[in-house]
């Protein structure tokens, strides 16, 4: 006969699950509301969802309880906190983009908002656990919601993208389970800190099996954060999704992936298996370089930004390879700065969204579309130029500081060649960012019609753009405060 299980509520530490709970309750509330009344409007649901997100954000920031909860399934440490804040703030901003001028099918359906909240909850689960199964549940929750949301854009390209993403995601999920299986077989645990401990204690461990497990995890997480050669989905999916969702995908799933990667791979890298370190070195450099040089030849701005986000991911991934506190803090700093700049760039694309593909049969935002934009709409061109300069890492715009901090972390930790590669890649990247600036400023416009560049603009979008540009330009003023906050939380959780 089984022992009756008695658990005190205190040991469960329910408040640690409160943030995720809020979103799930919110999502169900939206679905129920939609059943009861059919009259909910786009802006109502957007604001309601943002309300839940803000509530969640408040609880996340205000949480000072135990790090552990729910039988040690939950781990709310410093990096969990920072990454949740990034996820939630980014989600709130990108959700505002739903309030566009033109009507899109997905935004008029309540399910979209419910799925959006479920997705955020999934990403939050990924960040607040070091249990491989709970991470998997979070990952799949988020991914399945995301696939559906892409498809809801209701274009042929969108269906194609959703199917591709789903199929490849399934393969990646397979890799993930395979990797977890191997870890469990080797160590008898599915908790990351336990796995690392038992590997150290067990001398007879098969190193090849350990490496195989790591490889499968690289494949799985590499898919999420688009490491070469698991990156092939990125441009197609970005192309098929709306600019708002594409921008979102370039930030949020990746930061959740980074946190898991940071927990898992840094534990493995600490084992001093030379092979893993070398493999990582190659992957980081390959991701940066392939992303950059493929971006060079793109004809569409959104695809260019997709490749550029691969390159940025590779750049940031070097932090995990370096593994020092400085580098880990640099990862979060970089991603926050990158987030606001990318938010701005994708918002500009979103504002110029036209119902027809006016400039190219295939692409919505080809480079030629932006020809002479400086003459037609100088304000918008200047903003876009700021984002491009920032992405290229031109001081004193925001991303420059991230690059500076990460490269100096690499140098301080003795990764000189890595630092050189990072710098070289930044130089290559300048080419394709400047290409857009040249199209905008140095070429003659094809037509003088100003209206086609603002068909999708609304005051809300303009406010988002203003926030993004202000953050991009004036980042240097408050960067030390952000950095102090990050360093405190990163070192507090032992990374």
């Amino acid at each position: 006969m089984l022992e009756p299980i008695s658990i005190s509520l205190q040991a469960l530490n329910l408040p640690s699950l409160l943030p995720v709970g809020i979103l799930i309750v919110g999502a169900i509330f939206i679905i129920v509301l939609d059943l009861v009344t059919k009259s909910g409007s786009k802006s109502f649901y957007t604001m309601l969802s943002i309300l839940f997100i803000l509530l969640d954000l408040g609880v996340v920031i205000g949480y000072y309880g135990e790090a552990r909860g729910m039988f040690d399934l939950v781990l709310v440490d410093g990096i969990a906190k920072i990454s949740q804040i990034i996820v939630l703030v980014t989600s709130a901003f990108f959700l505002l983009l739903a309030m566009s001028q033109r009507r899109f099918q997905e935004f008029s359906m309540a399910e979209f908002y419910a799925l959006f909240l479920f997705m955020i909850a999934g990403f939050q689960f990924m960040t607040i656990s070091d249990n491989l199964i709970l991470i998997f549940v979070g990952l799949e929750t988020a991914s399945l919601s995301l696939y559906t949301m892409i498809a809801m854009h209701n274009r042929k390209k969108a269906f194609e993208a959703a199917i591709k993403y789903f199929t490849m995601g399934a393969l990646a999920a397979g890799f993930y389970t395979m990797g977890s299986l191997l870890f469990y077989a080797l160590t008898g645990s599915i908790e990351i800190h336990e796995i690392a401990n038992r590997v150290i204690l067990n001398d007879n461990l098969s190193v090849v099996a350990l490496i195989a497990a790591t490889i499968f995890m690289i494949g799985a997480l590499g898919f999420k954060i688009s490491i070469v050669p698991f990156h092939t989905w990125t441009p197609d999916i970005y192309e098929g999704s709306s600019a708002a969702l594409a921008g979102y995908m370039s930030i949020v799933p990746k930061i959740a992936g980074f946190v898991v990667a940071m927990r898992l791979f840094e534990a493995l890298l600490n084992l001093n298996v030379l092979w893993i370190e070398n493999m990582f070195y190659i992957l980081v450099i390959a991701t940066m370089t392939v992303g950059n040089i493929t971006a060079l030849v793109q004809e569409d701005v959104k695809r260019m930004l997709a490749y550029s986000s691969i390159a940025h991911a590779g750049f940031v991934l070097s932090a995990i390879l370096i593994g020092t506190s400085e580098a880990n803090s640099g990862l979060f700093l970089y991603w926050i700065l990158f987030m606001f700049t990318n938010l701005g760039a994708f918002t500009v694309l979103w504002m110029t969204r036209h119902k027809k593909n006016l400039w190219d049969e295939r692409y919505q935002h080809p480079f030629v579309k932006f020809k002479g934009l400086a003459k037609i709409n100088p304000f918008m061109a200047t903003m876009m130029a700021f984002f491009m300069f920032s992405l290229a890492g031109v001081p004193p715009l925001s991303v420059f500081w991230g690059k500076l901090y990460l490269i100096s972390a690499a140098v301080n930790a003795g990764f000189i060649y890595l630092a050189i590669f990072m710098a070289l890649n930044s130089a290559i990247a300048v080419y394709y960012y400047m290409k857009l600036v040249i199209f905008m400023f140095l070429m003659e416009p094809a037509s003088e019609e100003k209206a086609i560049f603002t068909t999708n603009a609304t005051p809300v979008l303009k406010v988002v753009l203003a926030v993004a540009v202000a953050f991009t330009i004036f980042a240097s003023l408050f960067i030390d405060k952000i950095l102090a906050f990050i360093i405190y939380h990163v070192t507090m959780s032992g990374f």
Binding site: T167, L171, V207, I211, P229, D236, W275, I293, V297
Partner: protein, 618 residues
């Protein structure tokens, strides 16, 4: 008092920056009013400073440490002494009037706001130039006015000729500035400081050869800015800019910066009288050379521009011969009547729809009485007739030359005075009197707006009476500058005055007499001398053939052969390498789902194989 110094200096800058915000916007009247008011405030506060400065008190402030690297320490300081305050008052006074005048003159220009932004920026740079207490500050102002001059000459940049003239002025000045820079480097090399007081205190200890080099180099800089031969061609071409610009920058203020430099560095030039004599000779040459070109020119503004060149020559004669206060005095009086002359010419231009050929005017007195009177006053002052301002300052310069026993120089200036009187009245006669040619050509001239005329009256007033300030001016600046001792007999002085007045009057009389009857016949134009003068002694052609063309050939060679074939090819090769690599990696991206899945699996497979082959070590 420091407060007034900063107000004087920064008020124009504030105006310029505010106007700059509206640079691309359509005309906003208040930008003109605001900048004028701020320059006016600058003028008023420099008047306060003028009252403050006397024999014992000057104002010297250090705003901040500007550059301090190793042994090099350059504080950013300003000094208001007897020389700089005269410059400040002159500059801000003329600037205020030109600003107000421009509100009317630029009325219909679509870049109205931009114009005022540039104009105020110029005033600010000019004030930096004259107020700095060290050579570096002076050089910054020097380059600042050069930049503003470039922007303003090329203000109508869509005109090919205007942008060409702007570039010519800028490049010509750059060449001369190289000389100036050499002088500055030499000063720092030898003395180790750029501060005026330290430099002038230590200059006595230097080898006289070194001082000669320093003086010569600085003078080359001055030649560029003051458009002395052989750097003179840019000034006449600079007339492409709007007329208020010609009045302010290319007559009253910026071009006198060269003279200011010589006066400011008088402690250096005092030690090297030989260089001074060269300066004076060049000045005398330019005085006659430029006046001769003005005799035949038919372009209203170019005539006045040549006259400016010629008058700058007079100033250099005085400065070169050590009569610094006289040079400064002529600089001041000249600023008044020359800007008046230019602004009057601006009114004429407007009335004639930007027609500049004086042969097409004539008889404008009927329709533009006020402008005619103002320009006649300015011309009398320029010709140097008692009691107008030009008489006092110009006569003093001739006396200096005679006193120095430089009779050749004196004679040149004497002839120059006659020519000046002639071309001034040739202009007045052909524009305002005689046959009304413009009627035949279908022009309908009209007088400028009343406030424009009112704005010009202070200049006219000073053109008449400024000469009587001579004694107080002398007493004021002599506290800082060396006095000039006249050893001439009193009677000789009187004879000189009578002679100069006589030649000036006869020049006027000849011009009036001749042009009352329609001027010279067509026969004059076929004379060799006429052709020589009208073609500016063929100097522009010479520059074009001897310097520009070979230089262009060399540049083309470097561009086509070296840059394109070697430098560019190397850079392109690197670029293409990456670009092609991009094209290759792109093939991964077929968009085909099966191949995308295959890539993922292949990635895992390759890594697994590597893991086994490479037999990892723990």
């Amino acid at each position: 008092m420091e407060k007034y110094l900063y107000i004087t200096l920064f008020a124009p800058l504030v105006g310029s920056l505010i106007a700059a915000f509206f640079a691309a916007k359509p005309k906003e009247l208040y930008t003109g009013i605001l900048t004028s008011a701020l320059v006016g405030i600058s003028f008023l506060s420099s008047i306060v400073l003028l009252n403050y400065v006397d024999a014992d008190t000057i104002l010297h402030v250090k705003m901040m440490d500007w550059i301090s690297v190793g042994n090099l320490s350059i504080p950013f300081g300003f000094v208001v002494d007897q020389v700089s305050i005269i410059m400040m008052v002159t500059v801000t006074f003329v600037s205020t009037i030109v600003h107000i005048y421009s509100i009317g003159y630029m009325e219909h220009d679509k870049s109205f706001n931009r114009f005022f932004s540039y104009l105020s920026a110029f005033v600010f740079s000019m004030l930096i130039l004259v107020m700095s207490d060290n050579f570096i500050g002076l050089f910054i102002g020097w380059e600042g006015v050069g930049l503003c001059s470039w922007m303003l000459i090329g203000f109508w940049y869509h005109k090919q000729s205007a942008s060409w003239a702007a570039n010519e002025a800028f490049i010509m000045n750059r060449i001369a500035d190289l000389g100036m820079l050499m002088g500055l480097f030499l000063i720092y090399w030898e003395i180790g400081s750029f501060q005026y007081d330290i430099v002038f205190a230590n200059i006595l200890n230097l080898n006289i050869n070194t001082v000669t080099w320093i003086g010569s180099f600085l003078f080359i800089g001055a030649m560029g800015k003051s458009a002395q031969f052989p750097f003179h061609t840019w000034l006449a071409d600079a007339m492409e800019g709007p007329t208020p610009v010609s009045a302010l920058i290319h007559a009253a203020t910026m071009v006198t910066a060269g003279v200011y430099l010589i006066i400011r560095a008088s402690d250096i030039y005092f030690l090297i009288p030989d260089v001074g004599y060269v300066i004076a000779s060049l000045g005398a040459f330019v005085a006659v050379f430029a006046a001769s070109m003005a005799l035949v020119n038919r372009d209203l503004k170019r005539i006045i521009a040549y006259s400016t060149l010629s008058q700058l020559g007079y100033m250099f004669v005085a400065a070169g011969l050590g009569a610094y206060w006289i040079a400064l005095f002529h600089l001041m009086t000249h600023a008044f009547f020359k800007s008046l002359l230019f602004l009057g010419a601006g009114n004429v231009m407007h009335a004639m729809n930007d027609e500049l050929d004086i042969k097409k005017m004539g008889g404008l007195y009927q329709s533009m009485r006020a402008t005619a009177i103002l320009m006649t006053i300015a011309s009398i002052a320029l010709a140097g007739i008692y009691p107008f301002a030009g008489f006092f300052s110009k006569d003093k310069i001739l006396e200096v030359a005679f006193n120095h026993e430089a009779y050749l120089l004196w004679f040149a200036l004497f002839i120059g005075a006659g020519m000046t009187a002639f071309y001034s009245f040739r202009l007045v006669m052909m524009v305002f009197f005689g046959e009304q040619v413009h009627k035949r050509l279908g022009f309908h001239p009209h007088e400028a707006r009343p406030f424009v005329i009112y704005a010009l009256t202070p200049l006219a007033l000073l053109s008449i009476v400024a000469g009587f300030l001579e004694y107080s001016f002398h007493a004021f600046v002599i506290d800082l500058l060396r006095d000039y001792k006249f050893t001439l007999d009193h009677s000789v002085g009187w004879m000189l005055i009578v002679a100069t007045t006589a030649i000036a009057l006869s020049g006027i009389a000849f011009a009036v007499y001749k042009y009352k009857r329609g001027g010279f016949g067509a026969g004059v134009e076929s004379l060799g001398i006429y052709k020589l003068l009208v073609n500016q002694y063929y100097i522009p052609q010479f520059y074009n053939n001897a310097i520009l063309k070979p230089f262009a050939a060399i540049s083309t060679f470097f561009w086509k052969q070296i840059d394109l074939k070697i430098v560019d090819a190397t850079v392109d090769l690197i670029g293409k390498m990456f670009y092609n690599a991009g094209g290759k990696t792109r093939q991964i991206q077929s968009g085909n789902l099966s191949s995308m899945l295959r890539w993922m699996v292949a990635g895992i497979a390759v890594m697994l194989v590597l893991a086994i082959i490479l037999r990892p070590m723990v």
